[in-house]
């Protein structure tokens, strides 16, 4: 009897405890489940999280041999029109002569290499400079787009929404680097995407993949150890037209003052 009494007492006690504690526990469980669900949902939604990345490129001018393989690869990879007016990336050849005159040529963007120079005498310095969209942190092209069709993604790449671009060419005018053009087939603005479809899969942009001398270095600026991080640590870097405050994410090493 006493034992039963005890048990009863114990039972009543535990029931009271139950009533006191379990709603809280249940609530905690529900909250926990909800968090877990949100987490799982987020993981399913985006295996690639753009907020974890910030892309940039380094260009070692002293390594560029002007073979134009990057231009070729870019046109192949991104289906850029083959006519010699449309480039997402191109290579320029600079000649600086003794009197300080600078001439620049880029026959067909350098896609077939460069013809032998005829004016070899009197050259003070000469070199190649690969150019592409600088993926500015403060991009003038995005600012001027009247329909919000060009934008900066969360990982710092400037893209164009083909379906909403109205082809007004404001962005082509606004880009100080001449990195944009209007695709003659779609009549919409086109530009380098850092090969966004490749880099989000963990691959290198096509131009970086094929550069035979490693003059192009691509990487994640948020990553502590990468070829780009090393490039940034040990080289003296310049950006193009820094006075425009566009904050480019394409960094040039060994850049000549004459390069604009």
């Amino acid at each position: 009897m006493e034992g039963r009494e005890d048990r009863k007492q114990a039972g009543m006690k535990s029931r009271r405890d139950f009533l006191r504690t379990w709603p809280a526990a249940g609530l905690a469980l529900l909250v926990g489940l909800k968090f877990k669900a949100v987490e799982l949902w987020a993981a399913a939604e985006a295996a690639y999280n753009p907020r974890e990345h910030r892309y940039g490129m380094g260009i070692d001018v002293a390594k560029c041999i002007g073979c134009g393989r990057c231009v070729e690869a870019c046109k192949n990879e991104n289906d850029v029109p083959r006519e010699p007016f449309y480039f997402r990336t191109w290579v320029e050849r600079y000649f600086i002569n003794g009197s300080g005159e600078t001439t620049v040529d880029s026959p067909n963007g350098g896609i077939e290499g460069f013809p032998p120079t005829t004016q070899e005498k009197g050259i003070l310095r000469t070199f190649f400079v690969p150019k592409l969209c600088n993926h500015c942190d403060d991009p003038p092209c995005v600012q001027v787009c009247p329909v919000g069709a060009t934008f900066s993604t969360e990982d710092g790449v400037i893209l164009v929404d083909k379906d909403y671009c109205v082809g007004c060419r404001y962005c082509v005018q606004a880009c100080p680097y001449g990195a944009r053009f209007v695709d003659p087939r779609t009549k919409t603005a086109e530009k380098c995407t850092f090969c966004y479809h490749r880099i989000t899969k963990g691959m290198q942009p096509a131009c970086v993949e094929v550069c035979p001398t490693g003059a192009r270095v691509f990487g994640d600026l948020k990553q502590r150890s990468s070829p780009l991080a090393r490039f940034q640590r040990f080289r003296k870097l310049h950006t193009l037209k820094p006075h425009l405050n566009t904050k480019p994410k394409v960094f040039y090493a060994d850049l000549d003052e004459e390069v604009r």
Partner: protein, 242 residues
């Protein structure tokens, strides 16, 4: 409430409602999800087809070539530089075959002499370098070694050889100043040729008391140049006054 105020409220309500409706209809579906743009556009771009497979994929099947290729000076040259975009080939290896650029056109893209190329990059003049012969008869692009020990320094140091050939130093042999060991021609990076280190070296010809032909310009080492070494002002492969 005055009548005109209630009318005004109705007018504003209709306007606001109309605006909200128009905004709802006109705004693209995923606009504003991540920023002032259509989030779906990012996904569209992300899903574009990849055409360059990357060298790691090539190595999966062509392991032997990849191993050979990874040990030499072409190791930084991706397969797709010469063979073109390979993603289609990796999907259907038998149907899609990649080009073998084994004619003479491919290699000069990188190796034709161009003064704008960085000094030291191996360059040849296609018009004088075994004309008409495809490059692969002597060179294996997967293991680019010189087929035989080069006879002349100009075979590799084309830029310097060409510059020197039209300069006043054209008559000087490279070895007169550099004394290149024979091994340098076999393993160029490991065994390096010598370079002059002192002003006295140039003074052997150019010093005021040098025992050399009279036409050679002379300087007085005591008064000329001060603390500078000769080649800090003069480029020995192309001395000024041509």
């Amino acid at each position: 409430m005055p009548k005109q105020l209630s009318r005004l409220i109705i007018v504003f309500a209709v306007l606001a409602g109309g605006m909200l409706f128009a905004r709802h209809r006109l705004l693209p579906k995923t606009f504003g999800e991540r920023g002032h743009y259509r989030a779906a556009a990012v996904t569209t771009i992300q899903n574009l087809p990849v055409k360059y497979a990357g060298r790691e994929v090539c190595a999966g099947c062509h392991a032997e070539i990849a191993a050979m290729h990874s040990e030499n000076r072409h190791q930084s040259v991706s397969c797709e530089v010469c063979h073109g975009p390979a993603a289609a080939h990796t999907e259907s290896p038998t149907e899609v075959q990649l080009p073998k650029p084994n004619k003479r056109a491919g290699c000069p893209l990188c190796h034709r002499y161009d003064p704008s190329r960085p000094t030291g990059f191996p360059q040849i003049d296609p018009q004088t370098h075994n004309p008409m012969k495809p490059c692969i008869t002597c060179h294996n692009p997967h293991r680019p070694e010189t087929p035989h020990v080069p006879g002349e320094c100009g075979a590799c140091h084309g830029e310097i050889a060409r510059t020197k050939a039209v300069s006043r130093h054209a008559g000087l042999d490279c070895n007169q100043c550099h004394n290149a060991p024979v091994k340098h021609k076999i393993t160029p990076r490991e065994v390096r040729p010598e370079k002059p280190r002192t002003r006295a070296f140039c003074a052997k010809c150019h010093g005021s008391d040098a025992n050399s032909p009279k036409e050679i310009p002379r300087i007085n080492l005591e008064t000329h140049g001060g603390r500078y070494l000769c080649w800090q002002c003069h480029y020995p492969h192309m001395p000024e006054g041509v």
